[in-house]
Symmetry: C2
Subunit: 402 residues, 2 copies
């Protein structure tokens, strides 16, 4: 009897453990499947991500050759690690970001090495007791000053990484010098391995399937205008022939609302890039930011319009029927204008019929207004959307991107 | 005669050079004055910036003590530089950012060191010829995989720096191991100096005038609500008693429009922070993001309203006079509600009269609506602003921040 109970208990415990393992296995399997699915989506959405990963692997493997071949290793020794570190840290997704980081790192290392050696020489002129105090003081002052400099918005935008590396190298050279009398050798080896690593990263980044931040910015600005155009295109149907839920094609503009930081960082990267494709060296990247700001302003109004679609406060049916034709016309003409502007940016060909569409849209807007006035009614939002589309166009003309 | 000409020419050239120098001097003087003024503004706007700079200087100077004292230097030797590097790289403005980077760096170094030593041991079991090939292959595969992992949005948000350091350390340990048989020593020394540097940075960051990202987020959300309240407060006067240009107090909401990235990074940092002040360890930081999103949606509508202030399309005077009282009431009651919500967030005390203000505002809105209906007129924007203020309040109640 007792044996059977013990057996049963054992079997119960075993079943428990078995269930726990099975549960754990199931959970981790579903987790792995989930991650794999996400990875697949990430790769399909932008295959350049997979290529970028392979490029980074290639660059690091190439640079680590320093260690494998005796002839190469003899020249640099332990300093070869700076080449590996530089590749890992500098290699970014776009050419602009990589070049920016590489140049920042190279120039900052050079300047800081120079200054560090100088500070070390000056300090070594003093007595042995005051040397560490002088070195410590110069490290403190420089580190505090450079850290404060990083708060300047202009510095932060373009030279943040350079300032960090400047501080780092100065401190390293300055303090290592106290221990190692071959300061010049250290500075020299560090600089040359960083240059080699940086060059490897930049060359692989530029010559194997390059990702240009400038092109990305160019396409982003055009796509954002298209999103606004899509909304304007669908707005008439959605408002007058309500299909219940908002269509998903109308929701594209939402990504425009928060595009500011992406646009700014892309423009910053683009400024580092050399001439490529249709973009010259001093392509007016800042003008894209101006168009981006106007596009966002337009998107804010479209957001207000979209909320209006969902809200319960609606105009009476008789008024809606009255203005349907003019209103749809106004909206679709704005849409044509926006989409043509987007196409013009994309192809860099001066748009020809935008003025006509804007004029048509304005006429339709005046019609709507007079129709509403006869009923003492006015729909400000619709007018606003139209006004803004026009201001968008004006900037576009000002920008003279081609 | 000739001599005089030559003299004159000399004098002319001298004057030219003198003017050029004077010009250069003037320019650089004005540049220096400009930079000094900007630095003063930066320091006055947020004195914590100056303190932060001094803290960084102090931390680096402390860590560089490793080099000055013989007893300390004997233990670590050249590896002491990793402590300096870690402080420079890890020390960020807020406690959360510093802790996040420090933990990422520490844990990533530990894991990668472990894995790197393992890979090195495995490779050294093979023949001498295949060893570099095996090592190179593992470096390539790991670098590519980790680089791809950095594209996952969740990883990017919290562990981006850790993944970078993981890749870096693995490659370094793996390849250095090929040359230096004291791999374990390298890994161990690197890890311990990084821990020392990280600890110095984190301790100084926390115990000397700490800057908490969580408090900053808390205040930012409250300030943003206040900006919206200020607009609503001034809107009635501005619309009905037009003073020409928009007052600057009405423009505060503009900073809310693009606050998304700031809020998200602050929330990410805040999650790393320990219990501090009125914030517990697992304070619901994500709820702040929800309030932030709703605040922005409200700001989009206010932007539309503000454009309406500037636009030429205005309601006829007789209608404006008719709705002035109710409209101003609606707007000011919304303002009271928003400002009380802001104060409630700031003080973490449940608001008492918000419901009453919202109800008053709704009554005023119904009044405006009925007044407009008698004239067949409806001002959607004003209604929208009110609806949104109410939705803001609802979320606030849902969030249960206290």
């Amino acid at each position: 009897m007792e044996v059977t109970t013990a057996n049963k208990e054992n079997a119960g415990a075993f079943a428990c453990v078995w269930l726990w393992f099975k549960d754990l296995f199931e959970k981790s399997r579903s987790k792995v499947v989930e991650v794999a699915r996400e990875a697949k989506t990430l790769g399909r959405d932008d295959p350049r991500r997979i290529i970028h990963s392979l490029k980074v692997g290639l660059a690091i493997t190439l640079v680590s050759m320093f260690y494998y071949f005796d002839t190469l290793y003899q020249g640099f020794g332990i300093s070869a690690m700076w080449a590996v570190i530089t590749v890992v840290v500098v290699f970014e997704f776009s050419v602009g970001a990589t070049l920016g980081k590489g140049l920042n790192r190279g120039i900052a290392t050079f300047l800081a090495g120079f200054l560090g050696v100088g500070a070390h020489r000056l300090a070594s002129l003093s007595t042995e007791r005051s040397e560490p105090i002088l070195l410590g003081l110069s490290v403190f002052v420089l580190a505090a000053a450079v850290t404060f400099l990083r708060f300047f918005p202009k510095m932060k935008a373009r030279y943040d990484y350079g300032l960090l590396i400047f501080m780092l190298t100065f401190c390293l050279v300055c303090v290592s010098g106290y221990r190692d009398d071959e300061v010049l050798d250290i500075a020299h080896q560090r600089l040359s391995t960083i240059l080699i690593g940086g060059a490897a990263a930049v060359l692989i980044c530029i010559f194997i399937c390059p990702v240009w931040a400038g092109s990305d910015l160019h396409n982003l600005i055009a796509t954002n205008l298209e999103h606004l155009g899509n909304f304007q295109e669908g707005f008439g149907d959605e408002y007058f022939i309500k299909s219940g839920d908002n269509k998903s094609s109308l929701q594209g503009y939402k990504s425009v609302l928060n595009s500011k930081s992406t646009e700014e960082s892309l423009a910053n990267f683009a400024k580092w890039e050399p001439r490529h494709g249709r973009f010259k060296y001093r392509h007016p990247w800042d003008q894209y930011l101006k168009i981006g700001t106007l596009t966002r302003q337009c998107a804010y109004r479209i957001e207000a319009l979209n909320n209006y679609l969902d809200s319960e406060i609606q105009a009476p049916l008789e008024i809606r029927v009255k203005i349907q034709e003019s209103c749809t016309k106004m909206s679709s003409e704005s849409s044509y204008a926006l989409k043509e502007l987007a196409l013009a940016i994309r192809t860099m060909i001066r748009p020809s019929t935008v003025n006509a569409h804007i004029a048509n849209s304005k006429i339709a807007a005046i019609n709507v207004k007079s129709l509403l006035k006869t009923g003492l009614w006015q729909d400000t939002d619709l007018m606003d959307g139209n006004t803004n589309c026009h201001s968008c166009f004006n900037t576009y003309r000002c920008c003279r991107l081609h």
